[in-house]
Symmetry: C2
Subunit: 483 residues, 2 copies
């Protein structure tokens, strides 16, 4: 490991983060608010970041990141961004405790969207924009990570993503990193701006439109309104958000193919097919549930169902209706939806569809293996056999995910939170979704939780966002052993 | 597949089942009840069973069971036993519907212990004895299955059990089946009788003592009292039951070693160490919880904690206190305890400790594999590397277990049951435990559930008891394909 190199890169991230803070200043000025919080925080971040970058920069040219350095940069990158990203909230006094400010900020950078704000609309507009931007930066970070660091780190879901990318094998990836990252980043930016336009077309102000677009495409779910998307009653606006949440949960490489009219490639992708079918199936099921248990008109039932299903499965967390107030069966369904997650190579968090596909295929094949114990029966994805190593990694990922859910729930309930709120808060934090159940349900927020609980949930958000292994590996003896 | 052979063996099981029914008749006579229900049901079972056995018996001598025949015998064996085992309840009129009678009986044969009886003490004593006996037969069935059919079926947990057995490799097992099965059956019988003596020593009547011993050693949990074991307030009796529940959850081969004073073999067994540590740790944690949240004296807190922890982890399901009325944290803990299960090679159900041991080791090693992608890093159990095939099977088992929990919960909540009761009922049925949460909690029973729900839960009991694969494999195309 090369700590100088790691710190230097963290400095670069810190400085970039500071530059992003300045983007909120025009809004502060337009709405006649103090520019100080963002200006001071941004300046501190840029100055300290540049200093660290330069001071620790290695003299040797072209120093490459080792695998272990990569893990350190990713985990501490997200932590550093959150530590500096919370400064505007603290300096402005709009969030008064470090715990709350850190929770809100890491909930942003991890694209979770769980909030401790009791009155979002009372916040300065410039700060709310920064809050939305943390999610967008987090989403972009995941895309860059997926593309640029996959060859260094090579974690399960990302390996699979690479297998998807056109003609890119992990070996050949490095020379094309810049190209691929740029291409996907352009799609990300393009979709964000398109959504802004579509939302303004439906009557949203530019400010609300850009904020909601930033957090939609990041599958983040921070809103500028206390009632989340329920504030905007226009069916048009709600359908626009449904479509863009759906797009944000698609593998961005597939969106690229789609934009090049290579629909066959999109359609032949098994993860996409499973993603689409899951959403269609569960939307219909939920629509039927709402129509059966309430007197809502069919269009409203369908819209509410589609919105909440897409929102939870893509791990966005916007809300237009309280799914916990629906019938029992729907509550149970939505709890399990939290463990689905979007597509690999998207900004969505959670377990991710491709892992479920492999899981189900493997479970089914295990029965075949029992009947034919001497045959080697691999899982096939997109018509290619995937290695036992990858299948192993996927199963281990899901098992660790569930174990963390279990131990996280025990830890949270030890802080005095009730059963339903506990499992809701843990599932939603680990899956980077946002709203949970009970006292942290869609109509509530996380402010009333004890400080310790908030730190535990913040840790879970980070674990979930960075695909578990990236963080957990730092706690193993293997990582720190010198080779 | 050879259906004649399968039906013939089912006939033998049916006839044996009938003989067991006759064992309840002395109690009916002693307590001046009608002997008809047991006499008629037993006779029908024996006559029909002997007929099927003889009629379908193959003429060729020494016809061996194929693997596929084995799967069919096991699954349909349990179903046949339950279908005929419910006759006494229906004939006597003490259970009025087929749904309830089947639920109660399969809950017995699967050693689950969930009951639909609102007033257990009003039941005829002879029938209650038969009810306890169904659990004991089910427990014995699992032991015989573990030993005798492992070479035919070779399912995960059982493979591991065989690896444990002294000098028995699956290849060498067959000649020794009779010996091993007899030895373990003697331990099972011996422990049951010992417990009866110990319980009578504490003041229980012979009738109550034998009933509770039968259901303790089967890790079943049916009681002759409405309040389950809470009826017996004697600390001595409760401690006796704790000890025997613990023993029932130990691999019977290890108990055999223990009886031969080969304690080193017991102590070196990783599953036993994990089983013991889990129980000690969770008992202490629960004791602390009870002591902290209530004003119970320490001994009472410890006893209540130990009883409920051992009861749930061994999947017995006896109750001396309502764990769902304890603090939030304890409710959360007990929900997760339902997914632990006892040791392989015991009568306990659930996921089983050895699978958790492999799961945790594998999850930890996956991190090492990520850092050293070219090395082959196997999981080691009891100082021996286990094959990738076995690890794969264990991971697949756990994943399928969780998937069935999820889909089972969705199915049950579709029948209109509330969230907490749903996940409690499904977890407890699949894990063969007994009591759940909410409306099926320790102080409640399953009688109020809709019929459809009861059938779903009955199916889950069977799946859980037969280690999932044994039942699920019948639903795959691979099974029915001619080779």
């Amino acid at each position: 490991m090369n700590f100088r190199n790691v710190i230097s890169i963290l400095g670069v991230l810190m400085a970039l983060n500071g530059v992003f803070m300045f983007l909120g200043i025009p809004f502060s000025m337009y709405y006649d608010e103090s520019v100080n919080p963002l200006l001071i925080s941004g300046s501190v971040s840029v100055i300290l970041g540049v200093f660290l970058w330069q001071f620790f920069k290695l003299k040797t040219a072209r120093q490459e990141l080792s695998k272990k350095d990569g893990y350190l940069v990713v985990t501490f990158g997200w932590i550093t961004m959150s530590l500096f990203g919370m400064l505007p909230f603290l300096i402005s006094g709009s969030i008064t405790t470090v715990t709350d400010a850190f929770f809100e900020t890491i909930s942003g950078f991890t694209t979770t969207g769980a909030s401790i704000l009791n009155d979002i609309e009372a916040m300065p507009k410039g700060l709310l924009f920064w809050r939305s931007l943390t999610q967008w930066i987090g989403g972009m970070g995941i895309i860059v990570l997926t593309v640029a660091l996959v060859s260094i780190i090579g974690v399960g879901g990302m390996q699979l993503f690479v297998a998807e990318a056109p003609g890119i094998s992990p070996d050949k990836l490095k020379p094309r990193i810049r190209d691929t990252a740029k291409r996907l980043w352009l799609i990300y930016l393009g979709l964000t701006l398109s959504e802004t336009v579509f939302l303004m077309f439906g009557g949203m102000t530019f400010y609300d439109a850009i904020n909601h677009s930033l957090t939609t495409m990041a599958t983040g779910g921070f809103s500028t309104k206390n009632e989340s998307m329920a504030h905007f009653e226009s069916p048009y606006i709600q359908y626009v958000v449904i479509v863009f949440m759906f797009l944000a949960g698609v593998n961005f490489t597939l969106t690229y193919f789609g934009l090049k009219f290579k629909f066959k490639k999109v359609w032949e992708n098994e993860e996409f097919k499973a993603y689409l079918s899951t959403i269609v199936l569960f939307t219909l099921l939920t629509t039927a549930g709402i129509a059966f248990f309430s007197e809502a008109p069919y269009e409203k039932a369908f819209r509410d169902a589609a919105f909440q299903v897409v929102s939870v499965i893509t791990t966005t967390g916007f809300i237009t209706a309280d799914y916990t107030a629906w019938a029992h069966i729907l509550t149970v369904l939505f709890f399990f939806f939290m463990f689905i997650g979007g597509s690999s190579g998207s900004t969505a968090g959670g377990v991710k569809i491709v892992r479920h596909v492999i899981l189900f295929k493997n479970s089914f094949l295990e029965m075949k293996r029992l009947l034919h114990p001497t045959s080697i029966i691999p899982v096939r994805l997109n018509k290619k056999a995937i290695t036992e190593k990858t299948t192993f990694n996927v199963l281990a990922f899901i098992m660790i995910y569930i174990s963390i859910f279990v131990f996280g729930s025990i830890a949270v309930s030890l802080t005095g939170v009730d059963f339903v709120s506990t499992i809701g808060a843990v599932a939603t934090s680990l899956g980077n979704i946002g709203p949970g159940f009970g006292s942290v349900g869609p109509l509530e927020n996380f402010s009333h939780l004890p400080d310790l609980t908030k730190w535990i949930l913040a840790g879970l958000m980070l674990l979930g966002r960075l695909e578990l292994f990236t963080v957990l590996i730092l706690f193993t003896p293997y990582f720190w052993k010198k080779v």
